[in-house]
Structures are given as structure tokens and as C-alpha cells.
């Protein structure tokens, strides 16, 4: 089967192992992910912090292109892109005047018909029903499933999982053979877009997350967002200096962990690209 695919910028650059693992897992289940042709950046945090119209027009262009390509379901692995596309769909359906402005700016037809799926929804719908028979090497580790902000908030718009103590990733990881732990930082912010401009804040916020995962015995942190990954993995020096100790718990995308469980090659899943060695 074929599903639409919006990788977003991170998956083409600093988080390319996320794209590699998403595509590899999909392929293992005979799912073809068809990329939107000539897609643009969703605008991310910068656009909605600086210019509302831009923050809606950029995602609307992406959704229009998907419609034009005949895609009805769109897989968006980046939690930030998922948030921007879903918020845009919501705002444009609630506000016809805004929809008119944005459609005019884009000069493309937009109906809002494309169904946007985050990676957990995609895995839940298309992978999990067939996962059991495929698990050859259960991911037998204690894992801290870290959801971050944009996968679950705001619930009024996303309507996905619970805002406090969500469960969907825990349920998936359980099926991949892992033991998800109870912990307190599932949806605390990692520092997100302040990574470059205020690295010390990221060291503190991500440090608290890492500290709790470690105290509760996590052997790996499982994520579904490139920003969460880069802050917890690439910013490990800032985290360690906040914590005052060296923590070497690896951070895996959920598709990398599931990929390992179904016996995919570590290199195919891009594990060698991480800053913190993936020892599990």
C-alpha cells in the first residue's frame, strides 16, 4: 500500500537517521511512503513566533500539494511539522476569512481533505497489527518513552493521546518487547527551538528529563521528534554539565527501536549517526 509522506527539513539533514528508520520499517511491512513533490519547510517555530500568516501559508502549501498529488493520508514523522500541519488545518477550517487570505497567498487549491498522521498513529494503524509475527529480536530493555510537547499538545486540536502521562508509545514499545518505565518527564519540554540561541536553557530542561530517566533505571530513551532527539543526543555535553555527571543513556527514535526488534540492520536504521553511542 501507499501512504503520503512529508519528511520535513530535519529528516533531510540533522535527523536523517529518523527518515532512514521510518522508510526501512515501512518497507519491511510493504508500505510505500510517497514523498510530496517539491515540498517546502513548514515554517516551524520561527514562523509562528514572527508572522502568523506565514505560519499558516507555509503548511497550507504543503497540504495543497498533497491534495494535488492525490494523497489522502499523510505520514509526518517530525512532531513539530505534525503540529504545524494539524494546527493549520484546524485554524483554516475554523476561520474562513483566514483560509481565504492563506489560499490567496499560496495561489493553490486547498480543501483540507488530507488526513495527517504522526508516526505513532502510523505505526499503530499500519504496523502494529502485523508486528507480532515479525519480532525476531525483542527490544528487551527498560525504556523511557519521551513524548515531548508537540505530539500531545494542545489536545483540543490534536486530539491524540492523553496530555498528562500519555500511553501510546509505551503500548507500542511493549509490543516490540521492551519494558516501558513509569517516569515523570514524558511531556516536559526539552528546550526545543532554543537549542542554538539559548543552549544553557536546553541543558537545564533536557538535563531534568535525562536525570529522571536515569534515576528510574532507563536503558534507552525513545522519542518521536527530531528536536527532542537532537537536544537529548547532540546536546549531551550541556546536559551532562547541568547534571554534573556523565550520562550515557542512548536516545532512539521509536522506528529505530522497532526496526531493531524486527531484525533490521543497525546501519540501515542510522544508529551510527548518533552522538551518544547506541549500546543497546
Amino acid at each position: 500500500m501507499t501512504l503520503g509522506f512529508y519528511p520535513g527539513c530535519s529528516l533531510k539533514g540533522s535527523s536523517r537517521e529518523y527518515a532512514e528508520s521510518v522508510l526501512a520499517v515501512a518497507e519491511a511491512f510493504d508500505i510505500h511512503l510517497e514523498e510530496i513533490k517539491d515540498w517546502n519547510c513548514c515554517g516551524a517555530t520561527a514562523a509562528h513566533n514572527m508572522n502568523k500568516e506565514l505560519s499558516l501559508a507555509l503548511p497550507a502549501r504543503i497540504l495543497s500539494l498533497a491534495e494535488k498529488q492525490g494523497l489522502t493520508e499523510l505520514v509526518v514523522p517530525c512532531a513539530a511539522c505534525y503540529s504545524r500541519l494539524t494546527v493549520t488545518k484546524h485554524e483554516l477550517s475554523e476561520n474562513p476569512a483566514l483560509k481565504a487570505v492563506v489560499t490567496e497567498a499560496n495561489d493553490l487549491a486547498y480543501t483540507g481533505s488530507v488526513n495527517v498522521l504522526n508516526i505513532v498513529q502510523m505505526l499503530d494503524k499500519y504496523i502494529i497489527p502485523n508486528l507480532e509475527g515479525k519480532v525476531v529480536k525483542p527490544f528487551d530493555h527498560k525504556v523511557a518513552c519521551y513524548y515531548g510537547c508537540l505530539l500531545v499538545r494542545p489536545h483540543e486540536i490534536l486530539k491524540f493521546d492523553r496530555e498528562e502521562d500519555p500511553q501510546s508509545m509505551d503500548a507500542l514499545m511493549l509490543k516490540a518487547g521492551a519494558t516501558p518505565i513509569d517516569w515523570a518527564f514524558k511531556t516536559e519540554c526539552c528546550g526545543a527551538g532554543l537549542s542554538v540561541s539559548r543552549t544553557s536553557s536546553v541543558g537545564r530542561l533536557s538535563g531534568k528529563i535525562m536525570g529522571d530517566a536515569k534515576d528510574r533505571g532507563a536503558e534507552a530513551i525513545i522519542v518521536a521528534c527530531p528536536m527532542c532527539h537532537s537536544n537529548l543526543d547532540m546536546r549531551r555535553d550541556a546536559i551532562n554539565s547541568y547534571l554534573g555527571e556523565k550520562v550515557d543513556i542512548p536516545v532512539l527514535y521509536i522506528t529505530q527501536a522497532i526496526g531493531l526488534a524486527i531484525g533490521l540492520d543497525r546501519k540501515t536504521l542510522g544508529l551510527q549517526r548518533h552522538f551518544v553511542k547506541v549500546s543497546v
Binding site: 494542545p154 516536559e188 519540554c189 532554543l194
Partner: protein, 190 residues
Amino acid sequence: MSSDSHHSGISGLGGEVLGHTDVKVSHCYQCGKCSAGCPLSEEMDYPPSVIMRMLQTGNPDLEDKVLRSLSIWVCLTCEMCFSRCPMSIDIPKMMDFLREKSLNEKKSDPKAKEIIAFHKSFLDSIKYTGRLYEIGLFVDYKARTLKILDDLALAPKMMKRGKLNIIPELIKDRSGVASIFRKANKKNKN
């Protein structure tokens, strides 16, 4: 909306917030859950609940302080405040409006210079190529902030792991994206 018109703050900045975002600052009863849950409140000059109170007063001096605050820029839009607000006040949506207004009125806090520079560099990158070009973003950000040495060790490590593209990804319809920026910037000088 008319039922709110007798509340304080409705004619000033609080009224503008209501008009542009439908967020009702008058609904805040100062429980403080937003400030308690905000991961950045300890780095803010005024935590979210205090911003709400400042807007409720309708006092122009306090409203000016809100637009000049560091708070609105260190806010990560993590949505924690909104999710925990017993009155379902969409504080992050209000923060987006306040940031845009603060920029347009050239009131942004100098201490937020790096944060704003990063956003500008990010948007410039996608304006010209359609997609984010990370090396271009870093170079542009460094030029804007003169933070030449920060993160210098990061680039080669990313490169070694295949995490940085040397050549930007250029989309075909760059003029379409440029036109979106032009139209969106008409009302807005950022």
C-alpha cells in the same frame, strides 16, 4: 465577545489580543497553574500568570512592559500552560500575537537578541531555498549575533555523522515560496 466588554483591559492590549486571537485575558482568575508548570518561568522576567494580570489591568505602562519583556521570547510554545489552564485560555496563541506586535513596534527585549536572530536566520533560509539549509542557518545566525565560537565544534561532528548537507536542497517553485513571504510580510516588516 460582547459579554466581556465590561471587563478591564478590553480596550487596551488585552482587547487587541481578544480581537486578533479570540483569547480572553479576562477569564484568568490567577490560579498560577501556568506559571507553576511553565518550564521557562524561572528564566522569565514575568511568569505567564503575571503577564495575564498585567494585561487585565489595562494599564498602558504595564502593557508596554509586556511587549518589552523577555518572557514572550523565552516562551517555547510548549503548550503546557494551555493544557493545564482550568479556564482553557490559549496562552501560547496570545504569546505568538505579543511577539509579532513586539517586533512590529520595535520593542523586543535586547536580551532576546539571539533568539530573534535565530528565528530570522531560519526564515531567511527557507525564503530563498524553500527548505531549511542548516549550514546557511548557522552562518547567517553567527553573522547576526557575532557568536562565532559557539557550537563551532558541533559542525564537524555533525558532518562526520552525515547530519549536515553541504549543498542546500532547492525546491523548484522557489518563486511560489518567495511570493508567500512577500504577501505575508506586507502587513509586517519582519
